[in-house]
């Protein structure tokens, strides 16, 4: 009889169990629900309905646009900060970095509520729902952009800049030929972590947009109150959008030098 051998692989069992029960099975359930009707008969009805309904397609488009703007704004804010923090010889730069990470330690709902009051005080609440939504998303996801950028920028070898200077490169060339190409993995992981959740974070659009802005996450939530099958179909379409965008940004390649990406 073979004695069961234990190895370090045994440690993977809890994770494998978790994976099967909380990732794979739910996905299969969504798949089944998406392609069945009320009586659990196989049907393409939801699929056809989804792609023939301008509202749903528009909502997907709106969500993508909102997420895109959020991502671009986050990148524009985060890149200079991460660059300065990573390249400068500032003594207390950890303090500055901490200041950006610190809000993440406060409950998310509380923060959104605080912004809501702030916007009300400025007079924007209820006046500029889309702007408020994007602002809230940027505020919420900014740390997720800064951290991976910071870690990749930190890693760039200083001798590369020296070499660039030796070869007569100016600061601009050094940036376009060294910094930018080498920080691409950080940009990619930052973009992934901002773009995808901001398509579905309907708490922000509900609180700051007074529920007047509908993004795809809200749709899924509402459909699961009344029609699981359509809700699953919307979730599945979102999954495909996510899959495609992850594929295009190369998110499936393992990125060893992007620490902090798993935050």
């Amino acid at each position: 009889m073979k004695v069961p051998r234990f190895s370090r692989k045994t440690l993977c069992i809890p994770y494998a169990v978790f994976l099967v029960f909380f990732v794979i099975v739910p996905m299969l359930v969504i798949l089944v629900y998406a392609f069945t009707d009320r009586n659990m008969h196989f049907s393409f009805g939801n699929f056809v309905k989804f792609f023939s309904d301008p509202t749903k397609l528009s909502t997907i488009a709106y969500s993508i646009v909102i997420a895109l703007i959020t991502t671009v704004v986050c990148l524009l804010i985060a890149y200079p900060i991460a660059y300065i923090l990573a390249r400068s010889k500032m003594k207390k730069k950890y303090v500055v970095l901490m200041l950006f990470v610190l809000p993440m330690w406060i409950n998310f709902v509380l923060r959104v509520n605080a912004i809501r009051e702030l916007f009300n005080w400025i007079g924007l609440l209820g006046e500029a729902n889309y702007f408020n939504t994007v602002f809230g998303m940027v505020y919420d996801f900014l740390p997720f952009m800064i951290l991976p950028l910071y870690t990749t920028l930190m890693k760039i070898d200083n001798s590369l800049y020296e070499a660039s200077a030796d070869l007569g490169g100016n600061a601009f060339t050094a940036f376009t030929r060294i910094t930018l190409p080498l920080s691409v993995p950080g940009i990619v992981s930052g973009v992934t972590m901002v773009f995808l959740p901001s398509m579905t974070n309907y708490v922000v659009s509900d609180m700051l947009g007074n529920s007047m802005v509908t993004i795809i996450g809200k749709f899924i939530y509402e459909y699961f109150g009344s029609d699981w099958h359509m809700g699953s179909m919307v979730a599945l379409v979102l999954l495909i959008v996510v899959f495609v965008s992850t594929f295009l940004t190369g998110g499936f390649k393992s990125e060893e030098n992007v620490r902090g990406a798993n935050l």
């Binding site: 051998r5 234990f6 190895s7 370090r8 045994t10 440690l11 069992i13 809890p14 169990v17 009320r38 309904d53 301008p54 509202t55 749903k56 397609l57 528009s58 909502t59 488009a61 709106y62 993508i64 009300n120 609440l125 209820g126 006046e127 729902n129 509900d206 609180m207 947009g209 007074n210 529920s211 007047m212 509908t214 809200k218 749709f219 509402e222 459909y223 699961f224 109150g225 009344s226 029609d227 699981w228 495609v244 295009l248 190369g250």
Partner: protein
């Protein structure tokens, strides 16, 4: 070897929490475990702000938390004393009727639920709940607090309301009262800030308040399809409703109820237009921010349930702001939440405890405690509840004090079902919101549940209203640009793998493949 032992140990340790979860939670040993599933913050939880606590404080004593226990503890003690059996209540809460429905459909076993009117009908129609025992309605049993104390108005409503139950392909018609015992009830209307909104204006506008343009961006609607659809029905058919009210006859309430249940396809276009013009005029859709936004002054008008209205009025009063409540003259919504027994409650042996729970909640003392704690109106009437209403609202000193007749609710058995109060309380403040007069209830309608097809159609309509719809050309442009982006990225990634796109080597050079270089 040592390493392996260690890894097994760690793996075991990681699994432990899972096992603990599977083992279920411990807790007090009891003969019966009663699983109750109700709304969050919908029951007396004791402590500060509870009826018993405030009563002691009013008498000049300094109450402690023990003087005002949660009502569930008191029920457990009472049950053991009365029936000689110990009971433990597992009390779980939900946020929306739909959440609760999903849980039930998924097969979670609860004994007692507290859904709203339409959800009771839906659960009954789908044969998911069980009728009460005939013994529950026996008025001679002193422990049957529900039948002995329920308001005749609610009892009539429950008696007259019918639902068609489908069981094994056969349909039977039953009245709501067989399946449900009431808990809280009320109306829907507008909480408004009289500093900015004229009462006369509201009376003139009715449901048109939403779209008149006078309160653009200062009024909220509910972020749930049923309540806002109801308001849109009022908005769409207001003239017809007012004409009905002009020539009231026997069937007035029935005709009004029919209008407020117009969910057939022929009506949805008109209602959809109303919903869109509502959306163009409101500040936002809300589920629970409305109360706070009224108090902070962000909005002037909040479409609300009467219970929330009472709560908002109380809160604002604490901040020195007097808010008021208004029910549109053309008609509004009568809603209620009630206790229902789930299927299989008999087999699980919890039916007796479940019915006892309902009876305990229907004791005047409990009704006062719950109602005081949450601000909603209990379905329980009787002498003691009238005294409680008087304790809250009677004010003979008020300048314009007059009698406020509540005989329709408290019934004829109660001596003098009349509260003397000032004009503001009688027409627009907490008394009016919590105990609406009969003339308001005449024009209030219960909205039935939507069957599966209707529900699907109205949800589609709702999503069209909530989300922005782009024109077909805009969608086409977006699709084409998305495809272009995908194609571009693919080209950048894989373009050089295709011979056609690969850069040609300069003359005189030959291409060296990477593999060859290795």
């Amino acid at each position: 070897m040592k390493k392996r032992v260690l890894s097994v140990l760690i793996a075991g340790a990681m699994l432990l929490p899972t096992l603990a979860l599977l083992g279920g939670c411990g807790g007090k040993q009891a003969d019966v475990v009663l699983k109750v599933y109700s709304w969050a913050e919908y029951i007396d939880e004791g402590g500060e702000g509870s009826y018993l606590y405030d009563l002691l404080a009013e008498e000049g004593e300094e109450p402690s938390e023990e003087d005002a226990p949660p009502i569930l503890d008191d029920f457990e003690n009472w049950y053991e004393e009365t029936y000689g059996e110990s009971v433990r209540v597992d009390y779980a809460t939900f946020g929306t009727n739909e959440d609760m429905y999903n849980e039930i459909v998924l097969g979670n076993e609860y004994d007692l639920l507290c859904p709203s009117d339409y959800m009771i009908m839906k659960l009954a129609a789908e044969d998911r709940i069980e009728p009460y025992d005939p013994s529950f309605f026996d008025e001679s049993d002193p422990n049957n607090y529900y039948v002995r104390n329920v308001s005749p108005f609610i009892a009539d409503t429950f008696e007259n309301g019918t639902v068609t139950v489908t069981r094994e392909e056969e349909t039977e018609t039953h009245s709501w009262s067989e399946y449900a015992a009431g808990y809280m009830w009320g109306t829907t209307g507008f909480v408004y800030n009289p500093g900015h909104v004229e009462r006369a204006d509201l009376e003139e506008l009715g449901w048109q308040t939403f779209t008149s343009g006078r309160y653009t961006n200062k009024i909220t609607a509910k972020d749930n399809v049923r309540d806002t659809y109801f308001a849109a029905l009022g908005l769409t058919y207001e003239e017809e409703l007012l004409a009905l009210a002009e020539n009231k006859d026997e069937a007035y309430n029935q005709k009004l109820t029919d209008i407020f249940n117009r969910t057939a396809e022929e009506y949805t276009d008109a209602v959809g237009d109303s919903l869109l013009s509502m959306k163009a005029n409101i500040y936002g859709f809300e589920t629970d921010t409305g109360k706070a936004d009224m108090v902070s002054g962000k909005i002037w008008l909040n479409y609300a349930w009467s219970g929330d209205a009472v709560y908002a009025l109380d809160e604002a009063e604490g901040d020195g702001l007097l808010l008021e409540y208004f029910v549109p003259g053309s008609g509004s919504n009568l809603w209620f939440d009630g206790w229902v027994l789930t299927k299989g409650v008999e087999e699980r042996g919890t039916k007796k405890a479940a019915q006892a729970f309902v009876n305990y909640m229907s004791m005047p003392e409990s009704a006062k405690r719950n109602s005081y704690y949450i601000g909603y109106t209990s379905v329980i009437a009787g002498e003691e509840m009238l005294d409680y209403a008087k304790y809250l609202y009677e004010d003979e000193e008020a300048e314009d004090a007059a009698e406020y007749d509540l005989s329709y609710f408290f019934g004829e058995d109660v001596a003098d079902p009349v509260i003397v109060a000032g004009e503001d309380q009688r027409t627009r403040r907490q008394l009016f919101a919590q105990f609406p007069p009969e003339e308001v209830m005449e024009r209030c309608a219960v909205m039935n549940y939507f069957d599966a097809d209707t529900s699907e159609r109205i949800n589609e309509l709702w999503s069209h209203v909530k989300a922005e719809s782009l024109d077909a050309w805009a969608i086409a442009v977006l699709c084409v640009s998305a495809a272009a982006i995908v194609a571009f990225v693919l080209f950048v990634k894989f373009g050089n793998k295709i011979d056609f796109f690969r850069r040609k080597p300069k003359k005189g050079y030959s291409l060296v493949r990477q593999e060859q270089m290795k």
